[in-house]
Symmetry: C2
Subunit: 212 residues, 2 copies
DNA sequence: TAGATTGTTAATCGATTAACAATC
DNA sequence: TAGATTGTTAATCGATTAACAATC
């Protein structure tokens, strides 16, 4: 356990499992991988392999215990405790991220935000204080923050990335379309809106072509 | 061409190519797949295969013509014309999407938005009129919209999805964490924040463990 | 010509699925 | 016991990479 790199597809399946399990009729004690697979349109062996990765296993003829499966999934996904994060950029997107109540459920807590717009510096959004960007390095260091979220315009993304890393951040979640340069030991999750739009419109085009 | 299903990884690479090409020093006429691969940390054969998919090809010893490559990429990604979309839900996320100026660059134009909050219905954000949700079916039909963006809370996501489909929408971009049920002929791009957070925090954990 | 580069064919790798034995 | 279900081993599939011939 623990060291294999895990694909983004697997994470998506794991979050689907936990969502599905939590929506099961109350009182459901056990569930089979076959049943999960059927509900979610997946292959049953794949579900079993995924579950083997995160849980102690099920019982033949009975299936998996729902409650412990939920706990195992939550533990594996990191929903059982918080990681604290700094947000850089409190424009429309930054505000949306600050207000997104589900992050706490997913084990992520934005504890401080930075921006240079004098209209919002000093204010709070959703209980999070907005500070000027020149405090970023110092504060990330002092708060020992390891996660930085970049929601600034393209033009300042690299600068902000550098500051976050200088402040000791080790993981970057980048919402700007800018490709970032950073040292090997930093991990990046790139949120790629351009690719999403392209995928959506191309899937649509192909789906319409097929129909015609 | 045209009918093979294209993986999300490929779309991400294609958008990286176009970004890279556009940032090349002005006056750069040709570029080799090898050079692109080197800059982006990819395999050169992979770059060549990707480019073969979208362009007429390059010349040995010379490489590819940058300007036509950019045009080919833009065409393939759908950046050369608009697809019009309806947005459902103008909360913080919806507002961020409405204000995201890059969508137009990516060939997506939100032309109408729906919400039930009386404080914002009737107003405009970024030139887009916000209408009450009960007009959704009718307006999507009349405007012949094929793309619907769901940015409503989990609890109303399925209802909104149904209305969009009733209004003739064929492609759904879902930002709510709710898994949606819909007919076979509808395409879906699910934006999965929970999976992104899990991936980010787990990558961080593994990166820190490795270091220790 | 020599060498950089393309494009194709073959090999590898990883992820998914099928087949099947184990077990409650 | 019989049958549903797990978990493992083997086969398949798709994507990536390596090897190499073609070409400007």
């Amino acid at each position: 356990m623990g060291d294999q790199p895990i694909s983004s597809k697997l994470y998506k399946r794991l979050t689907r499992y936990i969502n599905h399990l939590k929506r099961l009729p109350p009182g459901t004690v056990n569930i089979s991988a076959t049943a999960i697979a059927e509900s979610l349109g997946l292959n049953d062996v794949q579900v079993r392999k995924d579950l083997a990765l995160i849980s102690a296993g099920g019982k033949p003829k009975v299936g998996y215990e729902v409650s412990s499966l939920v706990l195992d999934l939550e533990k594996f996904l990191g929903w059982d405790n918080y990681s604290e994060a700094a947000l850089a950029g409190v424009g429309n997107l930054g505000k949306a991220l600050l207000s997104y109540t589900n992050f706490e459920k997913y084990g992520l807590k934005i504890v401080v935000a930075f921006d240079d717009n004098p209209d919002i510096v000093g204010k709070e959004v959703n209980g999070v204080r907005i500070l000027p960007s020149d405090k970023m390095v110092d504060l990330c260091t002092r708060m020992n923050l390891k996660i930085g979220i970049i929601a600034v315009p393209e033009s300042s993304a690299q600068k902000v990335c550098n500051m976050l890393i200088e402040g000791g951040v080790r993981a970057i979640w980048n919402f700007s379309p800018m490709h970032l340069d950073f040292p090997e030991n930093i991990v990046l999750k790139q949120e790629d809106m351009a690719a999403s739009v392209a995928m959506l419109t191309n899937m649509l085009r192909q789906s319409i072509e097929k129909k015609v």
